[in-house]
């Protein structure tokens, strides 16, 4: 069983590294530079590549939280919680690369553009979700309460997205939104984008699996500590 697991792990890791290499190659070398933005546009592949796993993770938090409350199986809680952490990590990537791309392209570090705003708000929401656990002393409540917050946060995702979009159409920002379109005209650019998406999705899954293992060992550790305490008392 463990041998098989190790094999799957190795294959997955090899695949991840291969796809990641290709993604970097395409993004940095093979895809042509953008006519207007030049080489900075290459940030965009990995910027978009990290938005996708982040959103996926946030929806997984919603799914896992509902599944936990319905079944009360700890595994769903673990999955949802780690998904929140992974989403937060990739969300941070989006928030870091966004301004770095915006400065040379738009001339400003930050603008209240729908994509940036919604990601910031979602990042804050899920930061709260991940933080909550550390502040609940009663371990029996931890999973239940964080599932409730996970549902509240997950349901908010489309609302945050929609409201920031509409907000922008009401207040046209000084930015021309043509960048995105000009970015994917060349077929090699499409390839680079798809590869980046694939690579980061695999990476997110890899992080997620490792994270779940971690939470598992944490739970096991607690059980062992209980057992030790019990034995020490009764010897």
């Amino acid at each position: 069983m463990t041998a098989r697991k190790l094999l799957i792990h190795a294959i997955f890791l090899a695949l991840l590294i291969a796809v990641m290499e290709c993604a970097i190659l395409w993004a940095l070398v093979i895809a042509p530079a953008d006519r207007e933005q030049g080489d900075v546009q290459r940030i965009f592949y990995f910027h978009l590549g990290s938005i996708w796993p982040a959103f996926l993770a946030f929806f997984y938090v919603l799914y896992g939280s509902i599944a936990y409350l319905v079944t009360r199986k700890q595994i769903f809680d673990h999955r949802a919680f780690v998904a929140g952490q992974v989403g937060l990590a990739f969300g941070s990537l989006v928030l870091i690369t966004g301004p770095i791309w915006a400065k040379p392209t738009w001339g400003i570090w930050w603008t209240w553009d729908a994509r940036l705003t919604s990601m910031l708000v979602l990042w804050l929401i899920f930061l709260g979700y991940v933080m909550l656990r550390d502040y609940i002393d009663d371990a029996t409540k931890r999973e239940r309460l964080s599932a409730i917050l996970g549902i509240a946060g997950g349901v908010m995702v489309p609302f945050v997205y929609l409201s920031t979009r509409w907000f922008e159409t009401q207040h046209p920002s000084p930015v021309i939104m043509g960048d995105k379109e000009s970015g994917i005209k060349d077929p090699q650019m499409v390839n680079a984008l798809l590869l980046a998406l694939a690579a980061f999705s695999l990476l997110a899954i890899y992080f997620w699996r490792r994270g779940i293992e971690l939470v598992h060992s944490d739970a096991r550790l607690q059980a062992l500590r209980r057992r030790t305490l019990d034995l020490e008392e009764n010897v």
């Binding site: 409540k141 409201s163 509409w166």
Partner: protein, 224 residues
């Protein structure tokens, strides 16, 4: 089905209102806080000569957000005093109706504070609702309901943490962004004499989704 639900709603509401009349807790924390906030707004925006007619919407919604947060925290804290929330947990009532009752009483208390704020808004910022009174009212009611629908769940979640006073706003405010955006937009459009139909629809959608989620999820909050 409907009659026990209505009776739960009625008595929870009566209890919360009587309690508020006695302690004036929400009134003090929300109303006075809002007045102070508005004065602060004036000084802060006077520095860069912000035209006074731009301020009312902003001031109003910042007041709703902050004094509402303060108020929700207080109402829940008073429910926790003497272990009364435990009594609600142990009562033979469906949790969903208890949630709706809490939402109603919280929304009423916040709405009442807001009614008192409007004259001050008129006084401080030459706020003139004029003919837009009805659409304005609708926007505010939808906004407050949405705010309270989210806040009532979150306050019960964060009440179980240490540092709940700080954690509640930190966790709640990002979740209130859609309500805030829709609320301010709708209010401003009303003041400009337009009808913000799509923002109303958006607020109704948030309300429907959040009230039903709160209704379903509250049962899991009534556990120790």
């Amino acid at each position: 089905m409907s009659s026990p639900a209505i009776s739960t709603l009625k008595m929870m509401l009566a209890k919360d209102l009587v309690r508020e009349m006695r302690s004036k807790e929400i009134f003090l924390s929300s109303f006075l806080f809002s007045v102070i906030l508005m004065a602060a707004f004036h000084f802060a925006s006077a520095a860069n000569r912000m035209p006074i007619e731009y301020i009312p919407t902003t001031a109003l919604w910042v007041c709703i957000l902050f004094s509402g947060t303060l108020g929700l925290n207080r109402t829940h804290a008073s429910e926790l005093k003497n272990g009364c929330f435990r009594a609600l947990m142990l009562a033979p009532k469906e949790a969903g109706w208890i949630y709706l009752a809490k939402v109603t009483s919280n929304a009423l208390l916040l709405g009442f504070t807001l009614c008192l704020l409007v004259p001050i808004l008129v006084l401080f910022f030459q706020f003139n609702p004029g003919s837009a009174l009805f659409p304005l009212l609708l926007s505010l009611i939808l906004g407050i309901l949405g705010f309270v629908a989210v806040g009532t769940v979150i306050v019960a979640v964060t009440a179980n943490t240490r540092m709940s006073d700080i954690l509640f706003p930190i966790i709640q405010l990002p979740l209130q962004v859609p309500v805030l955006i829709a609320g301010t937009q709708a209010t401003q459009l009303c003041l400009e004499g337009k009808t913000p139909t799509d923002w109303w629809q958006f607020l109704v959608a948030i309300n429907v989704v959040y009230l039903s989620i709160g209704f379903l999820v509250y049962e899991f909050l009534l556990e120790e």
